[in-house]
């Protein structure tokens, strides 16, 4: 044994140095709190509790923390992404890579129970306020609208019949509905010019133009005018939520387009803010959060002077899809009140104080089948 040279143990020496050295460095170098790449806060060190220890959540949280704050985490994530590509994988962390740089979320199931609950919350709201003109719009996700860009054989749940069923129930209670599949698809088949596609490649949201198409369809159904807004701006290098999940090393970034629509004032939860967009966000990672300053409880857009006669008011209940949509409403309505039920619960008070000409429910299919906050509509 002694006769063997140290060179025959180089592997062990390197292995031990790597494990010991890296562990030590990882313990000593403080980790980040926020990951730009993943667009989320990383798990913090849990505080010790006896009950946490005994139900095993304490140690689990430590493991999560250790993983999240692991030294050079982004480098390791990129290594995995490259390796997956080398293995010819067309998905990572539940995000599927389609044609032309499009990413889609894999949705093999949906929560039909929650969907049922949300539908009935909506119907009970309509019953409670029978005199109002209410419209429901459910936005199908990009994998449905742009199904020709999804890989063949991807068995995502077909949202179309599900939405159709909800629409049917809504119509029976006198709620208007607007189907979006066709209006959005009309865009999808146009040549690939930036800003023409209704959905982002790397994000689950629709583009401003997708939202505008939906607005057109909505306006048409109400018999309102819908001229195309004129001033548009572009912000490049948008890496959205699908990118944050898949972390595809060679993803093609999106270009965000937004429209300058003149308004008189915008308030969020009673506080005035500067315009429809949070321009600071264009320069940051989470660019979609610029639309309507992100998700907030109550946003009121005042654009008085649009109409000659009476002041027209619309109330919108929405998820984040509504943030790109609401600006277009201000082209016609004098006052647009936008409610995010996740952050606003006083629906009854709101309904009693305001006199709205139109009420719109605008939700993406994912939120409408998973959100628990629609229960706030039950009064």
């Amino acid at each position: 044994m002694k006769s063997k040279k140290w060179t025959s143990y180089i592997f062990l020496i390197l292995f031990a140095s790597f494990i010991f050295g890296y562990s030590l460095a990882d313990c000593l170098i403080p980790g980040r709190e926020y990951s730009e790449l993943e667009n989320r806060y990383l798990a913090a060190m849990p505080s010790f509790t006896v009950s946490g220890l005994f139900n095993n959540t304490y140690t689990l949280k430590i493991e999560e923390h250790t993983n999240d704050r692991f030294l050079l985490r982004d480098m390791w994530i990129t290594v995995k992404s490259i390796s997956e590509t080398a293995l010819l994988k067309i998905e990572n962390n539940n995000i599927v890579y389609g044609k032309d740089g499009y990413m889609f979320e894999k949705r093999l199931t949906y929560d039909s129970e929650q969907l049922e609950k949300n539908t009935s919350s909506l119907l009970s709201f309509a019953e409670k306020f029978p005199g109002n003109s209410i419209t429901l719009i459910i936005v199908p996700t990009s994998d449905i609208v742009l199904s020709d860009k999804a890989p063949r054989g991807l068995r995502n749940i077909d949202q179309v019949p599900v939405i159709e069923e909800i629409y049917q129930k809504a119509q029976e209670r006198g709620i208007h509905t607007v189907g979006l599949l066709e209006p959005l698809r009309r865009y999808g088949h146009k040549p690939e010019i930036i800003g023409v596609m209704p959905f982002y490649m790397t994000d689950h949201h629709w583009t401003a133009l997708g939202a505008y198409r939906a607005y057109q369809a909505y306006a048409e159904s109400l018999g309102l005018p819908s001229e195309a807004p004129v001033y548009n701006h572009q912000v490049s290098d948008f890496y959205g939520t699908y990118y944050s999940k898949s972390k595809k090393f060679n993803a093609v970034p999106d270009t965000i387009e937004w429209f300058d629509i003149p308004v008189k004032s915008v308030t969020i939860n009673g506080e005035p803010v500067d315009g429809l967009y949070d321009h600071e966000k264009w320069g940051q990672r989470d660019k979609y959060a610029a639309f309507l300053h992100g998700n907030n409880g109550v946003t009121v857009i005042d654009s008085t002077g649009k109409q000659d006669d009476e002041r027209s008011k619309i109330l919108v209940f929405k998820d984040s899809y509504g943030n790109a949509f609401a600006p277009f409403l201000s082209a016609y309505f004098d006052e647009v009140t936008v409610i995010d039920l996740r952050y606003f619960m006083e629906v009854e008070k709101l309904m009693n104080s305001g006199d709205y000409d139109e009420i719109l429910f605008l939700y993406g299919f994912p939120a409408f089948s998973s959100e628990t906050s629609l229960v706030n509509l039950r009064l």
Binding site: M1, K4, T66, I77, V79, S81, L87, I90
Partner: protein, 458 residues
């Protein structure tokens, strides 16, 4: 704690091995015992006392049997106490609710289930302690005098939670005096990395396919996808289980122990008989040694032999989980083993290709019985497998998983070993390969735990 985690690789492992190597030889077993308790408690702090009690009972029973060697009846009584305790705790924790459910079903009763969590590794360590007491009783080994040595054996962290089932006789010598040399540590580290790669790079990768098919629902898939998914599950369970065993063997080597081999290329077998000599070897030999042979084994008249085989495979199936499908799975193998024993085996062994097809087909179907606990869902799956359900869903999955599946299939043959022999065990190549596997495994571990909590900010 699982081996395939950042926590183990970059926290527990360096700390544990540093402490272990620095501890003077006399106290190494005590240190190993202490480290194992930390390892065990990390995942499940409430249940380590049960393991300790189990070890303590068998320690004292072992010593008492040795003292009363001449008194057959006393020895039998002592053995009964130990077995009652080991089997009792296993039955209680693992099978109580299963029995309650079945009684409810049979008698139309409504006895409520009791809230029980299965203590980590109980199926493995109870088998280890039982094998010890049985071996002492049969005079095959001497009872361990030192409590710490014995407790360190029972609790030893490498094989504690997923085997291999190490018998005391396998490592009793090493428990007392073992050489820990650098060559052994190095080959242990390499084995560990290969096991880690099996689990993280192959099992996890192809396992996703099966999980997704489960999500789609068995009544929504095509026949082609059903077969593709069962192929994926076959590879997943092999690389997961053998990977764990390999990691345990590697860690054992790094600690100075030689654990028995647990898997030996099972998928290249030509018969079910051969398959079970290559799959989970330590479990098979446990049942052979402590159930089949004591029942009379092969040295009884034919019908009794088949009864013995039936008993062994009923128990083997049941050991895998408290659900009827595991029993069915065991008896399914029993059926083929009996057929092979009566006439088929000699034909299989002389056949070159057909026998492999036969074996792989039987094993693939067996994994369906194993993976699907609910009988009505199992029925739907088998119907899809053996029906003709059309669909293009398989195209997506084949495209996404083809390379991983091919890699898995290639690595379940001795291909790597052959290459390594061709290269005359070239140290540089082997080292570079292990380094790449480790590097990639860490990358997959770091990203796998990313939980998509993205919506909370949107």
């Amino acid at each position: 704690m699982v081996f395939s985690s950042v926590m183990f690789l970059f926290r527990f492992m360096p700390a544990a091995f540093a402490l272990y190597y620095l501890t003077p030889r006399r106290f190494k077993n005590a240190m190993l015992f202490a480290l194992s308790l930390v390892f065990y408690s990390w995942g499940e702090v409430r249940f380590f006392p049960i393991m300790l009690i189990s070890a303590t009972v068998d320690y004292f029973v072992g010593r008492a049997i040795e003292k009363k060697r001449g008194d057959k009846r006393a020895c039998k009584g002592l053995l009964a106490i130990s077995l009652a305790f080991s089997l009792g705790s296993l039955l209680f924790f693992k099978y109580t609710n299963f029995f309650i459910d079945n009684i409810n079903l049979l008698l139309n009763a409504d006895i409520p289930n009791i809230a029980l969590t299965l203590p980590l590794g109980i199926s493995f360590y109870t088998f280890q302690t039982m094998s010890y007491t049985l071996d002492v009783y049969r005079g095959k080994i001497k009872a361990e005098k030192n409590y710490i040595n014995f407790a360190a054996y029972v609790a030893m962290f490498p094989q504690l939670i997923a085997g291999p089932i190490v018998r005391y006789s396998d490592i009793s010598r090493e428990m007392k005096s073992r050489v820990i040399n650098i060559r052994q540590i190095q080959s242990g580290a390499m084995l560990f990395i290969m096991g880690l790669g099996s689990k993280v790079l192959i099992a996890n990768n192809v396992g996703e396919l099966w999980t997704q098919v489960e999500q789609i629902g068995f009544d929504n898939i095509s026949t082609a996808l059903a077969w593709l998914s069962i192929l994926a599950f076959s590879l997943q369970i092999y690389f997961d289980f053998s990977g764990y065993s390999l990691m345990a063997i590697g860690l054992g080597k790094m600690l100075g122990f030689d654990f028995p081999q647990n898997f030996h290329y099972p998928y290249i077998s030509k018969s079910v008989t051969e398959f079970w000599r290559r799959w989970h070897i330590t479990l098979g030999s446990f049942f052979r040694e402590y159930v089949y042979i004591p029942l009379g084994g092969n040295r009884v008249f034919k019908p009794r032999q088949y009864l013995n085989i039936f008993i062994v495979w009923f128990l083997t199936g049941f050991w895998h989980g408290a659900s009827w499908n595991f029993v069915l799975w065991g008896l399914y193998f029993c059926l083929f083993l009996c057929i092979e024993k009566s006439f088929l085996l000699k034909y299989l062994e002389s056949s070159k290709i057909l026998s492999h097809i036969y074996l792989l087909f039987i094993v693939a179907v067996s994994w369906a019985l194993f993976a699907i606990t609910d009988f009505s869902r199992l029925g739907v799956f088998l119907k899809t497998m053996f029906g003709a359900v059309n669909g293009d869903d398989w195209m997506y999955y084949l495209r996404n998983y083809a390379a991983s599946l091919v890699l898995g299939i290639a690595l379940s043959t001795p291909l790597l070993r052959v290459i390594s022999e061709k290269l005359k065990d070239n140290y540089a190549v082997k080292s570079a390969f292990a380094a790449v596997v480790l590097f990639l495994s860490v990358a997959y571990l770091v990203d796998s735990t990313y939980n998509p909590f993205l919506y909370f900010r949107f």
